[in-house]
Amino acid sequence: MSATSCSLCAFVKSSIGRKIIVALTGLALVLFLASHLAGNLLVFAGQEAFDEYAAFLHNLLHGAGVWIARLGLLTCFIVHIWFTILLTKENKTARPKYAHEATVQAPRSSRLMIWSGLTILAFIIFHILHFTVRTDAELAKLGAESPWKMVILAFQNPLVVIFYLISMTLLCSHLGHGVASIFQTLGLRSKKTAGPIKLISKAYALIIYLGFISIPLAILLFGFGCETCK
């Protein structure tokens, strides 16, 4: 084995190395969320704009673009989850329990990372089946015609909306701790940057949260888009 690959092996095996990998894949996913949200918000711009955007994504690089993105995202996901599980398993075995447990300052979001993360995983599987694979025949038919109409129809279902709300709340919690952690793990936090990082992290989580829940809520509660879809 060459020296380079040895150093890399050591990096991947080390606690900090693994955390940096989780942070970098997390960063990619965080950035994806922003672009995903920006695209989604086109729902409010109307059917034409949204469908055009959907078509643009599917035709990028003669259709290859979307697959490259999907593969990239999938890799990030798997790596992110795989290393997190490895780290969590180590963490669980590193310490016996106290008879009297107490927490001083660790925020709840930080203590729920693995659970919020796993819920998000479940959500993503559902989300992909729901909107990408389109297991529901009616949605599939509508989606082929107009993705915008598909979205409007999908969020007529209160159960779907509730699941989305729960998942987005946990995503928000995950991001609240996760975004700040990216800075810390990549070594970008310092006395001066600690405050802004905390703020950015919270604000980002909130924007993502409000942005994503605004769509199902607008559709279900305020009937957005419903006059045109039927």
Binding site: A3, T4, S7, L8, A10, F11, K13, S14, S15, I16, G17, R18, K19, I20, L87, E90, N91, T93, A94, R95, P96, K97, Y98, A99, H100, E101, A102, T103, V104, Q105, A106, P107, S110, R111, M113, H177, A180, S181, F183, Q184, T185, L186, G187, L188, R189, S190, K191, A194
Partner: protein, 253 residues
């Protein structure tokens, strides 16, 4: 002088190979001006009188600098009071009738020796893996040969204030030693004298830390909340950064 009557729930364990358990003791008429360790001294005197074995606990300087005392008090290492070690905690912080849970620092890398006494030699091995500057005695240049900007010297000192007690590990849900290791590395990495061995130091110390069975940092900062010297988790960020660059450099050269 006001006196307190307390109930203690104390972890008793014969040695590393036996199971431990919580035992209950009544601590009667404890003066509020006594320190927490003196309270245990009083309880121990009574246990000895009654023919029992005293509660074993590590302690030495009793002025907050040797880092020997190591107890978790109501689930928090060195108690919930900020910026102190157990020996600096005084009974006036408690109220009559309180129940106090006293347990050893818990981490697999700190096996229990007896009762509240743990083996923290893993910290020594981490230092041996790179937590030093190699300078043979007598070979040093004049102390003024290298000027060190005050901010660097101060930053190094903030990290060097670590007393190696291990409270950071005990407080961490993952028993991570990152605050300790980062403080020790950061102290030397901030100084010009520490630059020559910086990469080697960071890689060596982290490798040893991992081998000792500590958990991983999940950025919850319980460590900095309980650190008796209030060392900031910013040093962890610096260690992460130094580790990343050291790994990158060692990959290409």
């Amino acid at each position: 002088m006001p006196l307190l009557n307390l109930t203690l729930k104390v972890w008793r364990q014969e040695n590393a190979n036996t199971e431990g358990r919580i035992e209950t003791y009544e601590a009667k008429e404890i003066p509020t001006s006594a320190s927490f360790l003196e309270m245990i001294d009083i309880v121990n005197e009574r246990i000895i009188k009654e023919g029992g074995e005293p509660i074993h606990f590590d302690h030495d300087c009793r002025e907050g600098i040797c880092g020997m005392c190591s107890m978790t008090i109501n689930g928090v290492p060195h108690s919930k009071e900020r910026g102190i070690t157990t020996c600096q905690l005084h009974m006036r912080k408690f109220s009559d009738g309180d129940t106090i849970w006293i347990e050893p620092f818990r981490a697999n890398a700190f096996p229990v020796v007896k009762d509240l006494v743990t083996d923290r030699s893993s910290f020594d091995r981490i230092i041996g893996a790179g937590g030093y500057i190699s300078v043979r005695t007598g070979s040093a240049p004049d102390a003024h040969a290298i000027q060190i900007p005050k901010p660097d010297a101060d930053a190094a000192f903030d990290a060097a204030a670590c007393i190696g007690c291990g409270a950071c590990v005990a407080a961490c849900k993952n028993a991570s030693a990152m605050l300790f290791v980062s403080a020790k590395a950061s102290h030397l990495n901030h100084l010009p004298q520490g630059q020559a061995e910086k990469d080697q130091r960071v890689l060596g110390m982290v490798k040893q830390m991992d081998q000792e069975g500590f958990g991983n940092c999940t950025n919850q900062f319980e460590c900095e909340a309980v650190c008796p010297k209030e060392i900031s988790a910013d040093h962890i960020a610096k260690l992460n950064r130094d580790y990343l660059t050291a790994s990158a450099r060692s990959s290409v050269s």
